[in-house]
């Protein structure tokens, strides 16, 4: 920047008498881009003499609101210290701007919000958690009521959005679910192969892969993938609709948002997730079967033969049976967090994150509870 483009301030030499008028010459561009250096200088500047100050603004080439504010602030600060300040030679338009600035009282508040203590923090967090839990419970209650009502009156069920949701959450998830569970089957067979070979129990690879995939891994993996894929989408969609007041619009039209937005998603996922799980079973076992042939020389027909004995119908059904519960958890948590969005775009991001974390957590918790229950029931 040249000298023309930055703001300058030159103080005339302090004269012999302490009460004499000190001249202050302002020059250059007093603009938002030009005042940065001068501002730092003014912070530490000591004003000579005791008497009046005469500012000369005739050399100011440009003045904008930021520059005018700095000038105004400097002059007012000097006045507060009991000195008389005059401004001369300013161009008429600049002088009008300076007056405009002076007519606005600006008192920026520097009130940082008081920080809560540790105890208060714990209390607030706990309270928020409890409120959230009761909100979730009432949301589950409301959704269940509406679900039951629409089961009693099946004509009220909206099939079109259900089918659409089945396509986006189910059909379109086939590639990723298939690939990941196939790889999981490969990994399990690969890890097990060494141990089994040591005991000459090669054929039990079918038990290992079949049972672990069908009972545990494919329902869990599928649910986690769907929670990340669709649960987050539910939260983001409903959250954005909330910000743009579409949810309020639905209410005023007389269509319950739960009925239109939550129910189709939940029903679609309850239908699609078991199907996806079945598909994941097949892909996982396929992966294990390939690995078994290449690592343990267990041929396909021997593997399949053994698989029929190893995986009982009840094992298969316990795996598939968990899927609808996981589906309900994912859909409810995703939609609930969507409705919790308020105000800002930030909030959409936050609630989407919460929805994924919560639904994965709850799915794994539910899976653990299922294991305990099945153990009790000896299934």
């Amino acid at each position: 920047m040249t000298d023309q483009q930055i703001a300058q301030l030159v103080i005339g030499s302090a004269s012999v008498s302490a009460t004499a008028v000190v001249g202050v010459r302002c020059a250059g561009a007093w603009t938002v881009q030009g005042i940065a250096r001068l501002e730092r200088r003014l912070e530490v500047l000591s004003w000579p003499g005791e008497g009046d100050l005469a500012f000369d603004g005739s050399a100011i080439s440009a003045l904008d609101t930021a520059g005018a504010w700095l000038l105004h602030r400097t002059m007012r600060a000097l006045e507060r210290r009991g000195r008389n300040v005059r401004m001369n030679g300013l161009r008429p338009e600049f002088s009008a701007l300076l007056q405009l600035i002076a007519s606005h009282h600006v008192t920026p508040e520097f009130t940082a919000p008081a920080r809560a203590g540790l105890l208060a923090n714990i209390g607030q967090q706990t309270w928020r958690g409890l409120i959230g839990m009761s909100g979730m419970l009432s949301f589950i209650g409301e959704s269940t009521l509406i679900l039951l009502r629409s089961l009693v009156q099946p004509r009220r069920i909206r099939w079109r959005p259900i089918l659409h949701n089945m396509q986006t959450a189910g059909f379109e998830a086939l590639p990723i679910v298939g690939l990941l569970t196939f790889l999981m089957g490969v990994v399990i067979a690969y890890q097990g192969a060494d141990q089994l070979q040591r005991f000459g129990a090669n054929i039990f690879i079918a038990d290992l892969v079949g049972l672990s995939m069908v009972r545990e891994l494919s329902p869990l993996l599928t649910a986690i993938i769907v929670a990340g894929r669709s649960g987050s989408a539910y939260a983001a969609q409903i959250g954005t609709m909330k910000i743009t007041e579409e949810i309020d619009a639905l209410r005023t039209i007389g269509v319950g948002p739960t009925e239109l937005l939550v129910l189709p998603k939940m029903l679609a996922l309850i239908i699609a997730l078991p199907l996806l799980t079945l598909y994941a079973d097949v892909a996982g076992v396929l992966g294990g079967m390939l690995m078994a042939r290449s690592k343990l020389d267990v041929s396909f027909d021997v593997f399949i033969d053994r698989l029929g004995d190893a995986v009982s119908l009840s094992s298969f059904l316990t795996g598939i049976g968990k899927a609808p519960v996981f589906a309900a958890i994912i859909a409810l948590v995703g939609c609930y967090q969507g409705f919790q969005v308020s105000g800002s775009a930030d909030s959409v991001g936050r609630q989407t994150t919460v929805s994924v974390v919560q639904s994965i957590f709850l799915v794994i918790l539910a899976d653990a509870l299922f294991s305990v229950a099945f153990n009790w029931l000896k299934i």
Partner: protein, 263 residues
């Protein structure tokens, strides 16, 4: 910042063509905006007013033609090349487009923080000044955009648009969605900002009252062409059917009578 020569137009559009697919939006549009004037672009819904505005501020690329802002060609500039120009103009979007995660003060000061080297204290003061200049109450600064009414949000958006003391201000529908009282507040605000800060203002609007009260010159856009340019008085005596329809509809007449009475 070199001073603008009075002879050179601030915005100079020549033979601009814009298309969305096969839909021709602008067909050889030419316009000039002079320094210090309040220039308004009007026309029916969907006639491409906002598209023209978005093309000038480099959010859309035209098919052909030239747009010169401050004497520099802007068509074909990339973001980096456009930055020096973008610092010299401010834009107020139709729905405010305030950052919802930031308070009003933060919305304004964020621009200053990004583009200047001022101290945090001065930035806060300048931001508070800008908010006061747009007529917002002092306590509005610490509020979030979703806690503000429509009119206050427009003012806050205006405060952000003038944060860097631009030489050129673009306003997209500054009064849309406001009650008459807030709208007339905006009319006066636009004029007083122009007079106080020496801005050039280009706005897109539907608001006939705003046109009568604030605009120096008006261009009517329709069917992809500029149908007429001039002061409101000149345009209201035009005999182009679309312009007549625009100004002599029931609302147009009422706004004109209002304007006469005031004179």
């Amino acid at each position: 910042m070199e001073p603008i020569q009075d002879t050179a137009a601030v915005i100079d559009i020549r033979d601009l063509n814009t298309r969305f697919g096969n839909n021709v939006v602008h067909d050889n549009v030419s316009l000039t905006v002079q320094p210090g004037e309040i220039f308004a672009l009007v026309g029916g819904s969907g006639c491409g007013k906002s598209t023209l505005l978005r093309t000038i501020i480099l959010l859309l690329q035209p098919v052909s033609g030239s747009i010169r802002v401050f004497g520099r060609e802007v068509v074909g500039l990339n973001d980096e090349q456009a930055l020096p120009l973008r610092r010299r103009w401010g834009v107020m979007f139709e729905r405010g487009a305030l950052f919802s995660a930031l308070t009003v003060t933060e919305n304004v000061s964020m621009v200053l923080r990004e583009h200047t080297k001022l101290s945090a204290r001065l930035i806060d003061e300048v931001a508070a000044l800008k908010i006061a200049l747009t007529g917002l109450p002092v306590d509005a600064g610490s509020k979030y955009p979703n806690e503000l009414s429509g009119g206050m949000r427009k003012r806050a958006a205006l405060a952000r648009a003038i944060a860097l003391d631009p030489e050129l201000l673009f306003l997209d529908e500054p009064t849309a969605g406001l009650d008459p009282l807030s709208a007339s507040g905006i009319d006066e605000l636009v004029r007083s900002l122009r007079d106080a800060l020496g801005l050039t203002i280009m706005m897109v609007t539907h608001d006939l009252d705003l046109l009568w009260r604030s605009a120096d010159r008006v261009a009517v856009l329709g069917e992809g062409h500029i149908l007429g340019v001039g002061t409101m008085t000149e345009l209201s005596s035009s005999d182009h059917p679309i312009i007549r329809e625009y100004f002599y509809g029931p609302r147009g007449r009422a706004a004109r009578e209002q304007a006469w009475k005031r004179k």
